[in-house]
Symmetry: D2
């Protein structure tokens, strides 16, 4: 669960009896937390008001053990829709990284869905696996530590998500793995890589190829000085989408 101080700071904590939890504005005794409902008020030893709240998907992404560039919530929501993720889908996720996108996919395919997660770097297999465990989604994901340059061992998937340094090398094997009408999503940060990937998509049977990027602006939530914040994230990635058709 997470502790949110009135100052706006947020902490993730695990409740263990007897411990104290320290914030930059004083301690909270774990024993004070027992019996509190979500949203109820606590006070730190310095008298600052605090709340206990359940962390959600966005908080989990930012709290998780991160060792890589992540897929940001601003991109993630759009990708989930464009891949048409739904209950019971089976989806391949290539390039697990810290597992945030994999967790989002696993969550939205539901109990009956299945994610096949490919990652060739062993240390990320561990990071992603541990994060998925934390979120209670580990059992929906079949993690495979291998490079998929030579193809997947799974076929007929509803969707496939590629987050790898050279996506153009994986277009053919992605086509092979998708079912007819299946949806491919790719993230890639530079214009050159997108161009190379588009070229490859054109030589296989993919239609409805689209490329998007988005700019999210946050505003000062103060009525009398409502305006965008001074600075913003300008670029995370380009997003490429396409659907498989038969040759």
């Amino acid at each position: 669960m997470s502790v949110v101080l009135e100052s706006g700071n947020e902490y993730l904590l695990t409740v263990r009896n007897g411990d104290n939890f320290s914030t930059h504005r004083g301690n909270i005794r774990h024993s004070d937390i027992y019996g509190k409902d979500f949203g109820e008020t606590l006070y730190t030893s310095q008298g600052m008001r605090a709340y206990i709240l359940p962390p959600g998907i966005v908080e989990n992404i930012f709290f998780m053990e991160r060792k890589t560039q992540i897929v940001y919530p601003k991109d993630m929501g759009f990708i989930l829709l464009m891949l048409d993720v739904k209950e019971g889908d089976s989806i391949i996720d290539v390039g697990l990284g810290s597992g945030s996108m994999c967790g989002a996919l696993a969550r939205f395919v539901g109990e009956k869905g299945k994610i096949y997660g490919y990652e060739r770097r062993e240390k990320f297999v561990e990071v992603a696996s541990s994060n998925l465990e934390t979120w209670g989604l580990r059992d929906r994901v079949d993690i495979r530590c291998k490079d998929i340059i030579d193809g997947f061992d799974i076929y007929n998937v509803d969707a496939l998500f590629l987050d790898v340094p050279s996506p153009w090398e994986y277009i053919k094997v992605s086509w092979d793995a998708l079912k007819g009408g299946g949806r491919l999503g790719i993230v890639s940060p530079t214009a050159g890589k997108v161009m190379q990937t588009l070229q490859e998509l054109n030589t296989h049977s993919f239609i409805q190829v689209q490329v998007w990027e988005n700019l999210f602006r946050e505003f000062k939530p103060i009525p009398t000085s409502f305006r965008p914040f001074d600075r913003m994230i300008a670029h995370t990635t380009y997003m490429i989408f396409a659907r498989k058709v038969c040759k």
Copy 2:
């Protein structure tokens, strides 16, 4: 199912034996469609290649009977994450309109989830109801034709989404309906309305108030002339998010 022509045009169709389906590039006989798998190739009477594909959530939004301003996919994905929508949630959706956001919520709460949809205009109750029926999600939504200015008859919901002309009038009743830590999402198109809503949020026990807007840019998916399209949607809505804490 949908028919996508090689020209890029997409049509929604219902397969009924004996009929022909006409496109701007020739007819397709329904009998030609039987037995085809998704992604397989057909030809129109004018010889244009066509594909049969299952429509997904994004296609459904743009194909549906629309009588109102809709929540666009670019906003919808982010809202779903910020409201932390997940299997089994119960969520209140106020201002159904054509039902696209309601459908998205219904889809992502899964079979065990429940949406309570409020709409005071009878004609939109009908439109939304019919669209939800089409998407196979009608039974997850409890539609109530009433204004909720005096409060909901449901409490302890995980999240609440407000798409109404004067959201500031519904902040108190939204607080009442949410569970502790529950998430409130609001869309509103003008700066003045956002400012009025922020003012009202400040006088109730909501924390982590955020305001966002986003700009989505689509690119020409052509490797040799990769560039953003000339024109884009500049503004759909501001999005306000907040979490309920106890007084």
Copy 3:
């Protein structure tokens, strides 16, 4: 001079005695215009209020005879600053097109400045020449109808602006023409062309290479419904800037 109707429509007109000027909301007699000061009120034959105003640089751009893609005001202002245009400068402008950028440069170098305008397509030499004449700036511009692939016949210029389909082919000759510390500005619409141009800039002695693009959003100027307009121009061009140093 221009006529602006209360409806917001704007017309460019030349006052000639005896004529009538027709708008979509009625006629204006030229004789009514004589003796009026700028900003004074007239009425059309249909009784709509109208004003006589002097057109400025922005109005001139949108009113001019246009046969090409133009440099938009949103880009033009930034380019003028980044090229450090000032009184007395001599500047080369390659690819005159309709002459809008040339006119802006000519205007801001003042009476003592000089623009050398290169354009290889005869018909654009005529269009640009005629537009510059209209704006009273023709005598500050030395127009040369030739391709400059083999070099300029002018050297030691303060700044050089390239608006051509393949800017990378002109980097060497641009370096030759600029004075030490001189500023190069390039517009190019696609990512691939920018990348090719950057590559070429790297092989010559240019420093402080920058690439920019901008998004301008216009808002509804109505206090009670202040919000961005629904749609906007998403992309006109990328802008590349660099300064010459000695080898």
Copy 4:
């Protein structure tokens, strides 16, 4: 003049015989600079290549003594065009701050133009005055240390620029000071202030009211990894423009 190191760092310097100029990558002897032309190569005591370049308007803005929020180049260029600034104009500039906008106006009205700069805070009169002196533009600006809430003592100006905390209080006096058809430009950072100003513009005889903001994105100028920089300036100000007509 400015020194630009190969590392990209830029320094402003005044050449005085006998001194050394120190950079974070070694010293440069002033005597080494004498006799060098702009763009020629020097070396620091640590052997890093350096160039001597003339600073331009953009460099001057970022190098100047700054004590306030400035008008950024991205906004400045557009404002200069929208105010139709040209040789010989007389322009009122209200709220000098550090004088960057005043300097830009002074530069583009040329030798025959005149700027009337109003600033009620004495310390900014000094800062602006000193900066204008540095840029060689002090004699084109008539600086007046007064609040103009009760009106200007100058009339019939071509354009007027307002950079003050409460622009709506100055609309009437701005109308009085402008000539017919004259152009008003206003910068204001928050939505509420813009709305208040629009309301006031509506009650006076101003037409063609426009509100703009812009987003400038800088790109990595590296051909093989061409992409927007990760972060950007999201908001500096809204810009309001309008033209005076007679009542």
